[in-house]
Every structure is written in C-alpha cells, then in structure tokens.
Symmetry: C3
Subunit: 368 residues, 3 copies
C-alpha cells in the first residue's frame, strides 16, 4: 500500500456547491472545454441510430452516420432554432428533418433541403450546416467536447488510454441501465466515489467484501484518479453474494482476480472494474443543487447471451450502494448551504478527494 | 399576389426569448403602453358583470357599470392592498366590497364605504378611488391600456378601425372558448401565426384547404399585419370537412366567400376571419418562456340559436391546428435558448415575421 | 379604554413584501439577531429528546442534554457539512452520529469520535465541536438566537418577563398542534393579528364573543405589542360555544376571567391568553411570499388527563379563525405585489400595526 495523505487539505467552501455564478464558471471552463462521457458506442450501432445527451439547457444529438462514424450535433435547426428531435433515442432514416418547416440535414450535418429558400438570393445552403460537436470513442465509450478547438482526445486521455486493456471494455454491452435524480451538486457525487472512509458506516455489506483500508491508488493527481481495492476472503466480485455472476472478462488474471478498480475520469465519468463486469456512472449537471446520474452495468455479450445469465446479484448490490451514496450526498448538499458550514478537515483516507478538489480548482483557473 | 420579401432579415437573437431584463423592458415599453385585447364585450353584458384579466403579477377587473359603460380597475384595495375578488368571472351587486375590512367601492370605482375611517381626521374618501385603467371597445372586443396617458384608441387603431365592417364582428358571440398553457415566449406564438411556410409540414389538412402560397398581405408594416389566403377548390371555410358550419356572416360576399383573413393585432391579438365564423386568439405573457393563449370561436347569435347549430367542424379544425402550432413553438423555445443558436435567415414566405420583428424592436425603442 | 391612534401612518411600501434583498436584510438584521420562538420546553422533556427548527436554508437541532439543559446546534457535521439528522423530532441515545463517516458528538456538542482522524497530525478534536446557538426558556417556551454575541434574553424580554405569571404558562402542555403553509409574507401574518378592524367582516362568530371595539392595548410600542379584548355577555372563552372547555388556568381571576389577551412578540411569536387555555403561533419565514405557521393549543396537564377533556370547542374555533386570516393574508400578498399598490391609510383601530411597522423598520435600521 502506498502511503496516503490529504496533506492537511480541507473541504471546499460552501459557495462551490450553491452559487449560480460558480456554476456558470464551471460551464465556461469545464463543461464546454473538457471531454465529457455521454454514452456507449453500442447505443448507436447502425447508421441513423441516435441518442440525445442533455446538459443544462443544451440538447446534443449523437448519431452514427452513413460512413459508420459517430457524430454529434446541437439539436437546433439553423432556420429558426427549433429542436429537431425530442425522443431520447431512435433512428433517423438517412436524414434529419425539422418538424417546423422541413429543413433537412444529412447525417453528416449538411443542410440538404430548405423549401422555398431558393427565392432568397443571398441564401447559400452551405452556410447552414448543423453546428457540430467534437466526438471521440475510447474503450467502447463515446465522449464529446463542446469547445471550438478542443484538445485532442488522445492528448487529454494519454495517461489512461491504454490502462484498461485487459478488461476488453470495447466489447462489453449494457445489460442494465438505471437513471437517478439526485438533489446534490455534481461534485458531491464524485467526492463520495473518491473515498471508502464512509464504507463502514454507510455500506456495511460492501465493507465486508472490500475492507475500507485495503485500498491504494495508482493515479494520484490530475484528471484521472483512483486505484484498486482488495476483495477479502473468498469473495470474487462486488455482488450481494460475493460470487461472480459472469465469466472473467478478457485477459483479467492474477491479482486482478482479487481486486476491483475505481477511477474518477474528470469531470463526469466513474469507472468501476470488476473481474466479471464493469460499472460506469455518467454524471450530468442540472443545477448547482441537482444532477442526474446514469449508471450502466456492462457485461460481455457472450455472458449476456448465455441462457443462465443473471446479472441480478451485481445489479442489486450496486443499486443498494448507489442509493445509500446519493442519500448522503443529498444530506451534504443541505448542510454545505448553511451559514454555519466552513471547510472541514479531510482524513488521509480522503486523499483522492483532496486531489480531485485540486484538479477541479485548477480547471476553474483557481490556484487552489 | 403582391411580391413578398423578407429583405434578407434574420430571426431575433436568443435573448429576446429568454432574458428576464428584456421581459421587463417589454413590460415597461409595450404591455403597459399599448392597447391590449382582454376579452369580449359580451362577457360583461349586464351592469355588475365582471371578469378578471391577469397579466404577470397584475389582476385587472373588467366590469360593466350602472351606466352600462365598461370599466377596468386594478384588483387592489386602496386600504391595505388586498385583492378585491378572486373568481375569474361573476357579478357584483351594485358595489365591490373588500373581503378584509369591508372597504366598499361603487362600480365606477369611487370609495363609498370605509368603516371607522371617519375617526381619522386627515382621511378623505375621495382620495382613495380604485386605480382605474383605460378601456376601449371595438368590433365587440374589449381593450385596456395601463398607461397613465394612453394614446387614444381611435388613433392607435386608425389603420384598421373600419377594415372589418362586413363581418359585423360586434354582433358575434362566443360559441366555444379554450385556454392553452404554452411553454414558449409570447412572440413565438405571433411569429408562428404570421407565416404559412410551415403549413405543408405541420398542417397537411389546413394546407389542402388553403395552399400555403395562395396568400397575400394587405397590411405589411406597423402594428397590424396580415391579409387573405385563398380557399382551394370547393372549400368554403376552415373546418375538418371544408364545409361551412354556419350561414355567411353579415355582408360578406364576392371574393371574400372564397378567402380567409389572418391579422396580427400587436401585441396580443390574432384575428382570423372566415366567411361563416371568426376566431380570436388572446396571448397573455406569463414569463419569458411561458404564455397562455385564450382562443374564442365567434358565431352569429342567430346561428347559435338555430336547433341544428353544430360548430364542431370548426372547433375540431382549430383545436388540431392550435395544438400543432403550440408544439413547434415549444420546440423553438427550447432551441433558441441554446448556446448554438444564432439568428437564421427568413424565407420570403416569412416576410410578415420580419415586419413583426421590426415593429417589436421599434416598440422596444431599438432601431431594429 | 385608552385612546388609540395610528397617527396618520400608512401601510408599508410593496417592496417590503416582495423584495429578495429586503428579505436578506431581514435575515441579517432580525432573524439572525433577535430571539426567535422555536417550540415548547415540553417538546424535549428527557435527555436526548430533540426537535428540528427550520428557517430558510438552516436546520437547527434543539435538544435536552445529559445535564437536562436545553441546547441548540446547527444541524451540520464539522467534517464535510452533512446534515446529522433529518427526522423532525426524536431521541438521540447519548450522542449524535453523522450518517456519513460516523463523526460523533456528545449532547453538549463536543466531537467525541472521529474515526481514522488520529492519522492527521494537525487534527485536534477540540477544534470541531458542533456550532452552537444560544438558547433561552421562558414561560415554557424555547427561544434561540443565531447571533454570535446575542443580547441576553432577560434584557431583551425585560418588559414582559413577569407579565403573564397568573396563567402558569410553563406548566402547560400542547393538546393540539397544527401547521399551516401560507402564501404570504411573514409580516402580513403579524399585522393581521395586530388588529380586530377586520373582525366584523371576516370573523362574524369571533366578533360576537369579543366585539371588535371592546379592546385596548397595554403594550403600545417596542417589540411587544398588544392587550386585552372583553368577552361579551355570558361568554367565557374563545370557543365555538363561547363556553370554557377546561378549568381556569393558574391564578387567573377577576376581570381576567372576562378578557382574552393578544400579544405580538417580535419577530415570530403570537401569544393569545384565554382564561382556560393558551394559543401560541410560531411564524417561520420561508421566502418573501411564503411562510409557515405552527399553532399550539396549550392546556394544563390536569385538564388534559381528565377523562372528560375535550378541547374540540377551542380547536375548531381557532382553526376556523386561522383559515379565515391566512386567506386574506394571501389576498394581500397578491395585491401588494401590484404596480398599482401604494401605501394606504391605517384606521385608528390599526394603531398596533403602525407600532409594529415602526418597530420593524427600526430593527431593519430604517428611520421609519
């Protein structure tokens, strides 16, 4: 075990969880600049398949185009600003047509039809493509970046781009998805995930499978933070029974069969790797005091197609744990809004939150 | 057909649909300065009859006084500010009494009773009449103006005051009233009404009755905008069947039997004239992203009293059309709030929106 | 009867009932400086018993400690700000434990357990007690003060500290409690309570028991305002029947058997003394246009334990009166938000409101 220390750090001041102006600052400096996890590539497996990603007042269309590339566009018609589609997921047949005046866009975003606009002499279809958004895929996940000149994904993710090879993540499929509305600032979700100091109190069952001090971190600074926890005794995975509920993934072997790995991928993804399945949380900001969390349970398609496949043991375990976590996040949101709240001291078991806070403040342009 | 052109105009910037401060500017420069349509004179047919008109946080009492004049007062007691009445419509018996301390006002607004106030030496009942609001009636419609020195109604409405004589509008009565809550800025409702470019896509049935290009405008600038559309083939009116559902109104004759007329009456009335009935929309602002629309189907009382009278064909037609329109207005509201939205180009078929935008910006004191 | 006069005073300008900035000014100058009534000492009769008091975004724990002292603490863990408890009332078993990381506080607020924190060299448990809030009890009521150096309760309440001895208030118990959510500014509740000018109109039944002009005031300036009203005819108390519903309280005798007393105790308590029972209103601010009122019907425990005890006659009377009052308060809230509202003249029967307004403006630091 590596020696952990929070270096005397304290929790963030209350306004970081309640202020509208800091929320907007986050929009400008983080959520429209960083790569955001938005879903799985398998959510758009065929040309025309799409899903919508909502963030604050924005709606983004993620789709697979005719060349089998994943693309992202603002869900806003270039004519009068109308939302082009409202169903959370579905399939376009070769083009996207605005329901108002039938302006029509190809799946790569070009305006290909604009009835009657030929009468307007100054009008040129080429000037009105859908506003596009940068997209990258990595390990089966889809990421988008709203910046005009985003940092290349490979740069941004260089520290971890090859880190999870043995789980064969890109092969996995969603066996279960659950969406939670949480009355807490998004950072409280990530901070909660970054420590197991709360596990003996809040998650007694989890704490039997992975005793809270049997953990270490292999990424201790920057936008990617986390590391392994050891499974105790004969336990094989994080499930209600402690047993695996699917064959071992990919090339997982050796000590990785007795460990689970937890990583914060700044700013909105949590990656939890088990020997037999993978859990991914996507955190969507909605207001200073509100967020939505989408949680995917990923299994190998061969496991899923097996007649005896039953992921219930893993689903029940994390549904229970998620609910316990969101409840205390909501209690924290209430308390940090108090005039009596002042930053409190982190334990050394919370060293990863201290690292998260530093990265967050740095991303905001604060010295921390 | 007159040659239409939007002269290269583009849609309004997003803040006009979302900003609280522009909303307040509209309050000061438009909604407390211009004549607003608030209902039908037939809604207050007898002395004492009243209805309430709500606008933002204001409530206005519209009533018929003992001299059979229609009057309007703020629904606010001069003693401690209490709302005098809360029922949307009803009848006062000779006076208006505050439910709190029984201060009592005559139907022409004078304070005629104030228990115990004779003990206050400086008190003079004549100083505390209800605050009144200017009222005008025209073609059976009631209009109010919250300005302290309003422009005379006859001045303001001079361009159209005699325009609709042949429909005998003042004789008509409300056969059906429907109220809609729409999650869209009020201007999106008026802009939607100002063009039929969307008809082929959104209203295929309407477009068969009045093909979208068979239209022209006889009022092309200023606060009154609109003109006729031609009924196709054997169609007689805007109904589900295309048949009339009542005898021809007043002195409507000649080409007017084969046309319908649509007018925006700035800032909150839409007037739709058919050979056999008239539709009036009243648009009430509620918030930057919310309004209420009250829609009246007006028929001649002789038609209404006929045993075979059935306005269902007209009601169903416009209920369908209204819902289709409000839906796209709500989609536009969502899109124009996006950071990706920028003003888009109007087609020449949207020349009346461009004229509306110019009038609106001018009313706001902007050069446009 | 003392001669009453409102001295020509007028009602407060509308912004005092609607403005967010005045609301915050009230927070700083009144609600975090003055002694607030929060409940009955009998609500925390045994060590460990507690109840929560909510005010705006704050939650305060009121409890009885091991030494049988009543104490108050902000409901905020010193570690990461988490709410310590959420149940409105209950019992702690010797300590208060945070549900997140099990930081544990004694009932007198000391941090007595902080797992793993011994590893943090700079950490000292004594630096992290719960943030405490000043508490006082008087006549069976519990009061708190959020100021850092509050004015001593005995000072603040000197004018009335011995005023109500003959009712033996501290012996009384809550026979019935009712909570009301009212869509009105908190001051409208207190102003409504301060006059009976509205009684003939709004409370015809009450007005028969205590005719509105048969009243006087024995506290006419400052934070405590009010006085007696005479019971008419054979009436014995404020009940539906006019009969007493319990034996006479304490040493009440003589003319007090034919009177009821009403006092505003600034800023959030209303005290209504009857010969046989006492009514206490607690007014909780929630927003400029919203408050919560908790109403207790207090009786002597001997009366309560009598097999024939039936407080229904008193409960029904004040439930009816409360609802009538809250309704007109809500109507006033709507009206004073109007652009047409301007301060209106008080009658001399409203002299106590004028006194309340002066005290309120003075507390806000305004000259009035």
């Amino acid at each position: 075990m590596i020696e952990r220390t929070a270096r005397g750090a304290k929790t963030l001041p209350g306004e970081y969880y309640t202020s509208e102006s800091i929320y907007e600052e986050e929009t400008e400096r983080i959520f429209t600049k960083r790569w955001l996890y938005v879903g799985r590539a398998s959510d758009v497996s065929e040309p025309g398949h799409y899903f919508l990603h909502n963030m604050d007042k924005e709606s983004i269309i993620l789709l697979k185009d005719e060349q089998h590339s994943i693309r992202a566009f603002f869900n806003v018609c270039r004519h009068r600003g109308t939302r082009l589609c409202t169903e959370a997921r579905g399939r376009f047949s070769q083009s996207i047509q605005c329901p108002y005046h039938a302006w029509t866009y190809s799946l790569d975003g070009r305006l290909i039809g604009a009835p009657n606009m030929h009468e307007v002499k100054t009008f040129n279809k080429e000037e009105y493509p859908l506003r596009d958004v940068a997209v990258a895929t990595w390990e089966g996940g889809v990421f988008m970046n709203l910046a005009e000149s985003p940092e290349p994904f490979e740069n941004a993710f260089a520290p971890i781009v090859n880190k999870y090879k043995q789980w064969h993540l890109s092969e996995l499929q969603v066996a279960h998805r659950r969406t939670y509305d949480v009355a807490a600032n998004w950072k409280l979700i990530l901070q909660n995930y970054s420590e197991c100091y709360h596990c003996p109190t809040l998650h007694p069952h989890l704490n039997r499978l992975t005793p809270y001090r049997d953990s270490s971190n292999d990424l201790e600074a920057g936008p990617f933070l986390g590391g392994p926890m050891r499974l105790s005794g004969n336990n094989e995975s994080m499930t209600m029974t402690g047993r695996s509920c699917a064959p071992t993934l990919g090339e997982v072997s050796g000590t990785d069969l007795k460990q689970v790995y937890y990583y914060v991928i700044f700013p909105n993804m949590l990656l939890s790797l088990h020997p037999d399945y993978v859990l991914v949380h996507q955190v969507q900001r909605q207001a200073p005091d509100r967020c939505r969390v989408v949680c995917d349970w990923l299994f190998h398609p061969e496991a899923i197609s097996h007649p005896d496949f039953d992921p219930g043991d893993a689903i029940e375990f994390w549904e229970l744990t998620n609910k316990q976590d969101w409840h205390v996040c909501e209690l924290s949101q209430q308390g940090v809004a108090s005039r009596a709240y002042t930053p409190g001291p982190y334990s050394d078991l919370e060293s990863m939150i201290a690292a998260f806070d530093r990265e967050y403040l740095s991303a905001l342009g604060m010295s921390g």
